[in-house]
């Protein structure tokens, strides 16, 4: 079997639609490598997306796809995985899709521990519509709708997922690609709900308004801020405030939705045990 990741990508659709310096291409390449290493055939993969820059991720994937409505990628994915647990289901979302308009679906997919790998390209703003603030834009930062500084605090998506019940929670950045590759590979093997949050660059909107105007500025930002979880734990509280942990941050051993529902079907005589 070919372990090349090229077969997961639609090469004839390149170049990518996204702006120069955008992190999204790095994330889909990392996903393709993880799928290749695991040997999942493209026709056994369903990628669901919503709306926004990363909502176009499925345009470059040679897998099945649902390019759905804004914020609903996880809701479509829940139907797919609920009806056929044998499929590999990934939801590719931006911070708008997952954390903001789709926040309720995010909470409940994690609570159900349904076997979806949620990959969030978190670029801290709404890139597609011109750089407005989202539910992950940090307090005080600038966007086209927070010209005087964001009056709201942003979510820590990993903490939200952990509290809601996700059985695997990981964070990467578009700079730390090795960490991201390993996190995605582990997430895709987790039977339950996995979140892989990827801190991603948007120099055109977020960076330009927040003193990181070039792609290199943004890459350096992620390089210096992201710290592997083992090292992060040893930082002083003051240092921790300036950094964030990356890698697999949380694992919880509990049955996924399909395992639990299969027991119900067995008890009801609907499937053989």
């Amino acid at each position: 079997m070919s372990r090349s990741y090229r077969k997961y990508l639609l090469h004839d659709k390149f170049p990518l639609f996204w702006c120069g310096g955008c992190g999204n291409g790095i994330i889909i390449a990392s996903l393709a490598r993880a799928l290749a290493r695991l040997g999942v055939e493209p026709h056994r993969v369903v990628a669901t997306t919503g709306i926004g820059c990363f909502g176009k991720a499925d345009d470059y994937l040679a897998t099945n796809s649902i390019h759905g409505t804004h914020g609903r990628a996880l809701a479509f994915a829940s139907g797919v995985k609920g009806a056929n647990p044998d499929l590999t289901v990934v939801s590719l979302m931006g911070d708008g899709d997952c954390a903001t308009i789709g926040g309720n679906h995010f909470l409940h997919a994690a609570r159900r521990n349904i076997g979806i790998t949620a990959i969030v390209s978190n670029n801290l703003n709404y890139g597609m519509t011109g750089g407005q603030y989202s539910a992950t834009t940090p307090l005080g930062e600038y966007s086209s709708t927070s010209l005087y500084g964001n009056p709201e605090e942003g979510f820590d998506l990993c903490e939200v997922a952990r509290a809601a019940g996700a059985s695997l929670v990981a964070r990467g950045t578009v700079y730390h690609v090795g960490v991201l590759d390993r996190a995605l590979e582990e997430a895709l093997q987790n039977p339950g709900f996995s979140l892989v949050e990827v801190m991603s660059s948007c120099p055109v909107h977020y960076g330009r308004r927040n003193r990181l105007p070039s792609p290199v500025d943004m890459m350096n930002h992620w390089k210096t801020r992201g710290v592997p979880i083992s090292r992060f734990a040893k930082l002083s509280p003051e240092k921790q405030m300036e950094h964030f942990p990356i890698g697999v941050l949380h694992r919880r051993d509990r049955d996924d939705f399909a395992t639990r529902y299969r027991r119900i079907q067995q008890d009801a005589g609907g499937v053989r045990s």
Partner: protein, 380 residues
Amino acid sequence: MSAQRSFVQGNEAVVEGALAAGARYFAGYPITPSSEIAEMAARKLPGVGGVYMQMEDEIASMAAIIGASLTGKKSFTATSGPGLSLMLENLGMAIMAEVPCVIVDVQRSGPSTGLATKPAQADVMMARWGSHGDHSAIVLAPSSVQECFDLTVRAFDLAEQLRHPVLVLSDAIVGHMREDVHFPEPEALDPITRRDPDVGPEEYVMHADGADGLPVPLPPFGSKYLVRANSSAHDPSGYPSADPGLARANIRRLHDKVEDAVEWISDYSLIGPDEPDVLLISYGASARTAEQLVVDPPTDSRPALLKLRTLWPFPDRVIRDTVASFPGVPVVVPEMNLGQIVREVQRVVGKEHPCYGYHRSDGQPIEPGELHRFVEDVVT
């Protein structure tokens, strides 16, 4: 399930119909007066290898049945007006991506929370036009418990044939009343099942019509075929495209596949005398009131009833021909809203023909006595 007579509720008959049609996936959010459908789906689906998922809201419910249907499982949901309002977003997705699924709306009084949870028939236009953008709609309206079963079976067939979401527009009266109902032998039903495409994965094009003029078969996720279900404007393969020509062809095709099928989608019945003095046109619970006037007419009137079981696509020809067969006979359209189907009937019969709506919008059923008094005024 073997053939049997049962005394059940309309909502229960919906679930029996869905199971008989081969439905194996339900996602929903409970709401009165539809909740019995969710409860019975939750009870019965696991025993036939199916899945019940209780979602966080109706937006997710609609998304989930689309996702499940794309895996090859016949899928449905049930709700009432407030929930249908939320489902409209992804109803458009099912239309755009041509994903078969069935939505049951057990109507209740609005607007908003309204007279929770009293009956109404005021979602007729929402069912037709609620989702944004140009599109068509397939909407069936049962008026009895038997029709709850029969029309749910038919809804799944139409959804599969036309690869389009189908609404069963029930109401709180029909959903909660109990009647004698005949569940046929499973073999007698012969529901339409998904079949494999006629061509291999390389040649398969998802948004195209077959030799029979109907959309090509939809292979399930996980097969050798790759399926791209796309809410955005797309080319026939499902890949996004902003080309105006492709958009025009796609929107036309999605619209016309339903509108052009109006003759075989239309389901109706005409009862009453050969020479009526008034023609009642109604549907759902109000058709039962109208039926009462026909089967037990007051001594001074001879009403006939055209009962519509298909509301959308609107059966223009049926209305036109029926009205033309009774020259000069006035038309009365009783419905539990302030006038939705009556406007369609008036559009079809023209301004010259006497056509009146009888409307009630207070959460109460139209009673035979009040309808009779109104008809009397019209006739005299």
